[in-house]
């Protein structure tokens, strides 16, 4: 039984793939800082739009983006919904004895804009990278090598365990398992995860033995040379004003 790869990079135009992955990581970080430093609602909206524009321009499909709009979990949704009522400001409307204020709405909208401004950029710059390439880029940027090893191993095993999980789930479905709120479901799901846990630990020790067998002594070699070209310098220079323009506007206005 085969399944879609869980951590497949998003498809993008070939232009992006000519850039050095390190540049993409750095640009993403710079953009995050710039986007989060904005305080005016209009500029925050502009940042979200800009990130969306860049993502679409560089060939991310709107469908892929739509599916990954910042996932507002129940709890965050609650925070955003309550925000208009808990911030002091001019009342817009009243609900019972609660007052919704304009400042509160502005804040909630601002959060939405900033969250999307960051996540769109993360998706286009990092989500389109092969994870292995990302790991190597992080290693070259000075991230501790143990952490990079852990990342690379984890990415590999996520796929293995996900497929195993799907196999076990299929077996449960074949026996007409429908999860509900009852002891039986919790037991079954717990056993499913317990089984995955036992198998994954056994697999980890097999892998460790295989690695020892091949003389692993705590180092992976990064075989790609990851050359930083003139092309990358140009793009980096071009990106500097783009990243800085919004914070500058903020301080001027």
């Amino acid at each position: 039984m085969s399944s879609l790869p869980l951590l497949a990079p998003l498809a993008t135009s070939s232009f992006l793939n000519t850039l050095d992955p390190r540049l993409r990581v750095l640009l993403c970080l710079a953009w995050t800082g710039s986007c989060l430093s904005l305080e005016r609602l209009s500029l925050q909206a502009l940042a979200a739009l800009a990130a969306l524009g860049v993502a679409l321009l560089l060939g991310l499909s709107p469908r892929a983006l739509l599916r990954r709009l910042v996932v507002m979990e129940g709890f965050m949704l609650l925070v955003l919904l309550l925000l208009p009522f808990s911030m002091p400001g001019n009342p817009v409307f009243t609900l019972g004895n609660l007052e919704a204020t304009d400042a509160g709405f502005a804040r909630a909208l601002g959060i939405l804009f900033q969250a999307h401004g960051v996540i769109f950029m993360v998706l286009i710059l990092l989500g389109t990278l092969e994870v292995v390439t990302l790991g190597h880029a992080l290693a070259r940027l000075g991230v501790p090598d143990k952490l990079v090893h852990l990342l690379l191993f984890t990415v590999r095993y996520v796929q293995v365990l996900y497929e195993e999980h799907l196999r076990l789930r299929q077996a449960m479905r074949a026996r007409a398992f429908v999860p509900g709120t009852n002891r039986h479901s919790w037991n079954s799901l717990g056993w499913l995860l317990g089984m995955l846990l036992v198998r994954s630990l056994e697999r980890a020790s097999r892998i460790h033995e295989a690695m020892k067998c091949r003389g692993f002594h705590g180092r992976f070699y990064l075989l790609d040379d990851g050359a930083w070209g003139r092309h990358d310098t140009l793009i980096a220079l071009a990106a500097v004003p783009l990243v800085l323009v919004l914070p500058l506007l903020e301080s001027v206005l």
Partner: protein, 207 residues
């Protein structure tokens, strides 16, 4: 469930979170042997996959976090393992963001470490699946309860306007606490029956 998106928290909270989790990360990585990387990565991947499992609780449904169990099994290695899982979730699913990675890691890792400190000894000594269920339930419950408190604390410290929301938000953690308690307990009971040696791995390997 515990992902705070970018744009919500104030700069001091973000910085504190980043600094504290960076400190914990450096310490954890120093203790992590190269020999244990496959095991830590396998568990990190397992928790990533477990977070995709939907558990119905009453009318709602929750995604598991299992940070208590992660602390029990990984000890300090839970810190880098959680960071890696959160990074992957941000990049591939758009959960959370980049600037919040530090505080989000802290919110999950601190309870994991505390669970390890409080319950690990008892779990290693206990050999009855029934008792292990209750120890596991306690671990799962307190892991999430603490995460809920930390998340709300991060919100409340970011600005007084979040305090009412944070109080209500704490309630949304109740179903997750129940599900985590039940599932973590079942997992520990199961592992004790099937492969008891795996539960006490850390006694054999150095940690």
């Amino acid at each position: 469930m515990a992902h705070i998106p970018d744009g919500v928290l104030s700069a001091p909270v973000l910085t504190t979170g980043a600094v504290l989790s960076a400190g914990a990360l450096v310490y954890a990585l120093r203790r992590l042997d190269y020999d244990r990387i496959p095991q830590a990565a396998m568990l990190s991947a397992l928790f990533f996959v477990a977070s995709l499992v939907n558990v119905p609780v009453g009318a709602s449904s929750v995604h598991l976090i299992l940070n208590g169990l992660m602390g029990i099994l990984l000890g300090w290695a839970a810190v880098p393992a959680l960071l890696v899982a959160l990074l992957l979730q941000a990049i591939f699913f758009g959960y959370g963001g980049l600037a919040v990675l530090g505080i989000n890691t802290l919110n999950l890792a601190l309870p994991a470490l505390l669970c390890a400190a409080l319950f690990r000894g008892a779990i290693h000594r206990c050999h009855s699946p029934r008792q292990l269920f209750w120890l596991g339930a306690l671990t799962g419950f307190s892991g999430i309860a603490l995460t809920g408190v930390l998340v709300c604390l991060a919100l409340a410290l970011s600005g007084p306007e979040y305090i009412p929301a944070a109080k209500v938000a704490l309630l949304t953690y109740v179903p997750l606490m129940l599900a985590e308690a039940a599932i973590t307990g079942t997992i520990l009971g199961f592992v004790q029956r099937v492969a008891p040696e795996q539960l006490r791995l850390q006694q054999v390997t150095r940690d």
